[in-house]
Symmetry: D3
Subunit: 230 residues, 6 copies
Amino acid sequence: MRTVVVTDPPRADPGAVDALAGFGVATVHEAMGRAGFLGPGIRPVHLGSRVAGTAVTVLSWPGDNLMIHVAVEQCRPGDLLVVATTSPSTDGMFGELFATALQHRGVRGLVIDAGVRDVADLHAMGFPVWSAAVSAQGTVKATPGAVNVPVSIGGQVIRPGDAILADDDGVVRVPRETVADTVKAARAREEKEEATRTAFRTGELGLDRYGLRDRLLELGIEYVPYRDGS
Amino acid sequence: MRTVVVTDPPRADPGAVDALAGFGVATVHEAMGRAGFLGPGIRPVHLGSRVAGTAVTVLSWPGDNLMIHVAVEQCRPGDLLVVATTSPSTDGMFGELFATALQHRGVRGLVIDAGVRDVADLHAMGFPVWSAAVSAQGTVKATPGAVNVPVSIGGQVIRPGDAILADDDGVVRVPRETVADTVKAARAREEKEEATRTAFRTGELGLDRYGLRDRLLELGIEYVPYRDGS
Amino acid sequence: MRTVVVTDPPRADPGAVDALAGFGVATVHEAMGRAGFLGPGIRPVHLGSRVAGTAVTVLSWPGDNLMIHVAVEQCRPGDLLVVATTSPSTDGMFGELFATALQHRGVRGLVIDAGVRDVADLHAMGFPVWSAAVSAQGTVKATPGAVNVPVSIGGQVIRPGDAILADDDGVVRVPRETVADTVKAARAREEKEEATRTAFRTGELGLDRYGLRDRLLELGIEYVPYRDGS
Amino acid sequence: MRTVVVTDPPRADPGAVDALAGFGVATVHEAMGRAGFLGPGIRPVHLGSRVAGTAVTVLSWPGDNLMIHVAVEQCRPGDLLVVATTSPSTDGMFGELFATALQHRGVRGLVIDAGVRDVADLHAMGFPVWSAAVSAQGTVKATPGAVNVPVSIGGQVIRPGDAILADDDGVVRVPRETVADTVKAARAREEKEEATRTAFRTGELGLDRYGLRDRLLELGIEYVPYRDGS
Amino acid sequence: MRTVVVTDPPRADPGAVDALAGFGVATVHEAMGRAGFLGPGIRPVHLGSRVAGTAVTVLSWPGDNLMIHVAVEQCRPGDLLVVATTSPSTDGMFGELFATALQHRGVRGLVIDAGVRDVADLHAMGFPVWSAAVSAQGTVKATPGAVNVPVSIGGQVIRPGDAILADDDGVVRVPRETVADTVKAARAREEKEEATRTAFRTGELGLDRYGLRDRLLELGIEYVPYRDGS
Amino acid sequence: MRTVVVTDPPRADPGAVDALAGFGVATVHEAMGRAGFLGPGIRPVHLGSRVAGTAVTVLSWPGDNLMIHVAVEQCRPGDLLVVATTSPSTDGMFGELFATALQHRGVRGLVIDAGVRDVADLHAMGFPVWSAAVSAQGTVKATPGAVNVPVSIGGQVIRPGDAILADDDGVVRVPRETVADTVKAARAREEKEEATRTAFRTGELGLDRYGLRDRLLELGIEYVPYRDGS
């Protein structure tokens, strides 16, 4: 493991990142061609938030939050902290003192592939958190790791400065170079979905709207009336 | 796998299904002799709903929601959509556009042994969902499956037209032929429980009310005073 | 397995237990030197409660709640019921009738390494529950177990009369002999944290406050500017 | 739960069942149109066996093997015991004494969605076992269940008398009515696979043999040379 | 967490521990009244060993094997190392160098509620291992823990000097004070089982041998002939 | 998701890759500074193999092995196939026909973050496999993915042409640029370990060899004699 702190990584354009927060995680994931989702294992502790920010990344040893302390100093307004561990861990590496320090620096939230604690306080503070676990288990500050190197969560690689969008559906990563394009694609998708929504509200079927009836034929799907015993 | 859409299956009596919604899942499960529960793996995304409906069943390929589009057309007012996959999957196969289409048709909710997305929207729409996962991960429309065939979730078989009851305790299936009887049994159980509740509120013990003291003797359970070191 | 009911175990001092409820689970866990946490597998069904009580312990057979009935009689005001099973189980061993009986006796809540049901009712009653699962699955009353013997959950041993503190971060156990000392240590910790909180609010860094910069040097952590491709 | 023992269910044709053992589980699953597989959660304790038999089914309470005793009496030569529990359990419900009794009756093996024990003895006896767990944890004989009712494991329904085939890839169920047809389809598939195998051994590609190159075009898959940074 | 090394704990009688190795884990678990089993999560990496020894216990920080180094010095011939971690971990804390050092000291094997590595070497050396995981992931030597304090694995408490028996069914703990009695009870159980085995080999049924037919009647289990559709 | 096939990626030096196979996965992971391990979730189906090769990477849709067919054509002698899926899947995407085709091309094995089947045949063929699951469940060929793009498994990113080493401890990735250096570091580590092994065989302790006694003092670890009740 590299034991390094990378300073001043390029960050995604702040305006584009803010625009990203106008869309849901599922929409943005679709707009990128079904990519970038960090998987169902990273969940909000409390439902009801949506936030976008630029990633400051941390790679920590399990049971050790030393590198989160290091990372705080690297954070700027508009960032979102993203923490991975070198092996699976549920420990409560992050709590309200960290959130206090991060809020002072304008950090918008936390995504962590490990545990968090003080979750009632975090909620009261309005500091949103997406995590793999909730755990009061404390950690030490003994073993080195890295800050602002690429980290991997749920099969996705997050580089420092990438845009992160999180809501009740989970977390998606947008490469820092393509945030504006992704916003455009998300807007286009949403407009298309709005038309579909209107159609569905008046009874049109997806089978017709998406032209799926031919595919059903090709695939050999048969319609048969119900018979006893089936 | 059969690639078939069964049309017009018999449905449980609507009045009986509506009456079912007057009871909790645990009560109905007990009233059927401790049967029909779909297990602890299917959970509401948001707590606070209770709904009963008749099952329209879907068997889908993992990562593919084609058959849900097919199923929408088979739904009628009072139905509840029940989705299983041919192998374990957490993908977000269902979102608010589907819910929009289903609400138009009078469908009351979704039970899915896979993932859902747009969960904030689903909650805002008042479309209740019980699922195995929440995931923004999108799906394709490429592989056939079946609609209105028996599906199995959590060790329970759900046939099209069976009654489904879901609340904060999970989901229970009632065979379509026995819904009225189950409602009766649930009512009887609830009356008995109300009497027990009253007794418990005034200090009666379950040991006495259920006549368990003799059983403790038979089982050789001993009462011993506390001693140091134990 | 011992099939025994131990009566009148010593209980932690009630005043000290009540004082414990003034602190969070994470704080008390830290105040004991990072000990006593029951792990991330025991979670509140509803967020938002904090409760402290003295443990009445139950060891039950999976799928069987006979011993919970036995335990009710052993409960006193200020107690908190703690249930373990002899092998892993998710069954809904506990519901609102038990909670009714326990509230009558002044019991403050439940910690169970298995399932609970009637969770909407439990929440409405104000009876807080921490559990490994929510499940409507019912149980029988057929097989003996033990009450008020030491039980083990999440790697922690809970003896009857030990203090239990539970909140949104999970559950911690405090040995009955050391509750007052733990309260003192928690208070000291909280005062220290309050000072840290104030410092963090004005921009001090953990790196400085905890004197970590020297450690980073010892550990060989390097600061390097970002370069393309990293 | 029904507490019933169904006697003398129809069994799949013994000759067809024996023929089934000439094929692998994956082949038979494919021959049925990718159906019938009991999922990756049911695994052989020791690799290296393949067995086919007719199912005698058991539905047991967790932590209780009473109904397995009942089932032994219902077994005949050529049968294979299939055990499900009413809720998830890992307990060691089955060991070498049961295997001794079953071998006497000509039973060919066990499939169990719970735990087994005495696994070294079972292996030495040549009694093959597929299970969800290995556990020394013992069980009681206190709570009723059912024998020879349909049970559901891994999303598949197994009726008494259905054919079961198990090998190192897991377990597949063949409806008792269609075993001979399935054997035919498996044989056809194997012949086709043998031709493919020969072709692959001489360097033909699946892309050509299965005519997939056109599909790649339709799907818009591009071939691009490697560039730095990708 | 206490950071302490307890020296010279009492050990179970060596002769009794050696006698214990004549029985299987399941037998000993039953002989203690179905107690002491460390659960299905601790498994042998290679099948085919059985070993008994006296526990030297270790409580380690996740990702840190410092305390195993400390524990080696506390080991004597006939011991078996038992390692728990303060929070869930899969890291490979133990490998062949440790096994080399332990074999020199006459230690008989390892039980660890975390990961091991070098498993091919461990097998070649004849050093048996039961673990929660296999993982090449390395660890550091930075954070204190404890040696020879009680540890809890799978709901069982293991004190230093307790007897540990491990085989293909998993691991069981016998309190150091009662090993000789347990050996006696195991022998009695085995004799009884041998008689049962003989009876089963000649066709006697468990239903008759254990007198279960009356219980079936009491429990209301009905025998019914098979009917179509069931 | 990019739907692209990258041709002719640079590969690690073949001689260096072959040299890598002279070391264990744990050794190489340590030699890289405790990096590159794909985690405890990827396991050999059969123990006893060690293989090194250059990665051809595949990103597949769950339940779909189309892209593995595409990847076969990209494989050369000395390669090792590495398959990830876009969302969690256990399906048996790979079997002996694929292995036949790959052996013809000189491919040395498979690492897959999903399921495999025909495992008895794969073993008989001498084609080693590391996977997340064994499953007979078949897949379709309907949905695009990518070949030779970076994929992420267990928190590690594998680029095409990287070296992969796999043995009974799991799988490690070595960046293609640093294989020769890693071999050197592994050799140095092994020499150091051989000296330690010799020392341990004659009774030296890790506490002394690694100079850990001072650290114990610093950490405040106390040695205390055993007392009753501890």
